[in-house]
Amino acid sequence: MNRKSFLLQSAVLTAGIAGYPSLLSASKKSDIIFGHNQKRYRLDTQWGKLDFNRYPVKDCHEMVQDKLGRIILLTNETKNNIIIYDKKGKLVTTWGSEYPGAHGLTLFNENGQDCLFIADNNRHQVIKTTIDGRVLLTIGYPKEVGIYQNETEFIPTETCIAPNGDIYVADGYGKDYIIQYNARGEYIRHWGGRGAAPKHLKNAHGICYDDRDKNNPLLIVTSREENAFKRYTLDGQYIDTIALPGAWVCRPVIKGDYLYAAVLQSQHRQGQESGFVTILDKDNKVISNLAGSTPTYQGQVLTDMYQTVKAFKYPHDVCIDDEENVYVAQWNAGHVYPYKLIPVL
């Protein structure tokens, strides 16, 4: 062995030793348990994978489960805006080619029949359809109210439906108003909008109907750039703010006693694929972050949260099925299909 080859081998050996602790012991994705406390999961990245040539996706924006137990995905790919899976991830059917800005997807059971509400950014509309895609109602911007000069200022991102059929539309990429319509799509009132007061919103990206307290149902609205949720009465009176420092939360999703939300990205690492999933208990305290930092409170104040493991890029929505599995749809994540997280008991 001459000096040159000795140095070469030494360098390889050194690299091997230096890399040992992190590389040799690296576990497979499926072996890693994500989350904290009673909300811990294993990750299945293959669950919703389909033949991209036949069933392509762009951004996977939102997901819901219908009364048949099927998982419904909304994408802004107009070859198949809606992709319907069974819980095992097998393709059931697809439909939809007229929703280029498909963004928000909400399911409402109306007199025993499931129907869908699609918030379309590009069309500046909310479209109500049957579960198989027949259009029932189209809602545009509320001309009569005078808060919009034209339809392009209205860019809805989300809807939620109250039990009486009232439709709440979050104008999250427009003027950040919450606009309440009746079941026929007639304007009732609006609130929120931009401003410095606590009642105002910055990127009102999502909304949900929270009836965990059956005697006091209310609305939870995302204020994403503020890293917060805000609570309002059903007629739009501001109640309080749930601060989620560091977390660009998307829509709140209620299942049982818990609130789940995709976190698009971490405040500390914007634009760097730094998303995770957060879970709050019935008191709206964060109890678990999936691929995120351990939730810590100093007194009543939540400390900064951030991504800790690069499991997700930009999570955009979560769906929790009837068996407590969590599905994660992602924006701008290289055309990946939804991931599934299976609870660890």
Binding site: Q9, G16, Y20, P21
Partner: protein, 262 residues
């Protein structure tokens, strides 16, 4: 053959897990400003079970053998670069988080400079020596932004001092059209001759495309140390965005925050 087997063994873990394992994210380096007067404490954070932050202060990439972060790091040198990395069983180690902390230096009494673009005027002349900065967000109101050809700066010290170098902190965020300047040239005031004389010059070459945003400091060294209380500084802004950029040919922006004199 032996050599081949040894290489295969050593490289095997990487090849086996690279596709199917997960990487930790870099630790958070917490600070209000990268600029400080006499000393500062820097906190690192990574709240995740079974992981540890290892860090260096010598510009080297952190390894397991480097110190484990346990308490805030005391910083008191003119320039201190903290590099930190997270290691944890079951994961690929994180990329490196880096931050450089900059001490105040000689006391500056006044700075006058070319008027910045009105949208990015920060706190006016004070912005360049108020010890606030280090955040890459241009909305933090610490950056002065320019899209003109040159920026002229007059800098006065509180008293005559022996000076060997000047430090400039720039923002680099090429996706947002914000590039490093092409050149910084400095003259110092010679009181005896009642004239300005050449102090030093730094040409900044445009290298490959840089992704993301970062605070990027440039040091301009004197040919010889001088005793003075005044400097004239000329900064040449990049006039054409390079061809690889979607805005190729457009005038680039230059963002500056803080000048330090040593």
């Amino acid at each position: 053959m032996v050599k081949l087997i040894r290489s295969v063994i050593l490289l095997f873990p990487c090849g086996l897990f690279a596709q199917d394992s997960l990487q930790l994210t870099p630790p958070i380096i917490k600070y209000h400003s990268i600029f400080f007067s006499k000393k500062t404490q820097v906190e690192l954070a990574f709240a995740y079970p079974n992981t540890a932050i290892h860090y260096t202060l010598n510009q080297e990439a952190p390894a397991i053998a480097d110190p484990t972060y346990k308490k805030p790091i005391l910083v008191r040198d003119n320039l201190t670069t903290i590099k930190a990395k997270v290691f944890g069983n079951g994961y690929i180690a994180s990329d490196i988080a880096t931050a450089t902390f900059i001490k105040e230096g000689k006391k500056i009494s006044m700075i006058h400079q070319t008027e910045p673009h009105p949208k990015y005027a920060a706190a006016g002349p004070l912005a360049l020596f108020d010890l606030k900065g280090g955040n890459v967000d241009i909305g933090t109101n610490t950056w002065l932004g320019y899209n003109c050809d040159t920026v002229k700066i007059q800098l006065s010290l509180s008293k005559s001092e022996r000076v060997g170098k000047l430090l400039f902190n720039f923002l680099q965020n090429e996706n947002a059209w914000i590039f490093l300047p092409e050149e910084i040239s400095i003259q110092w005031y010679n009181q005896q001759l009642n004239t300005y004389q050449f102090f030093g010059k730094e040409s900044i070459e445009s290298k490959a495309q840089v992704n993301g945003a970062n605070c990027n400091f440039k040091m301009v060294n004197a040919m010889n140390k001088v005793i003075t209380d005044k400097f004239l500084i000329n900064i040449v802004v990049k006039k054409k965005i390079p061809d690889w950029h979607p805005a190729k040919g457009s005038h680039a922006w230059m963002f500056i925050d803080e000048i330090k004199v040593y």
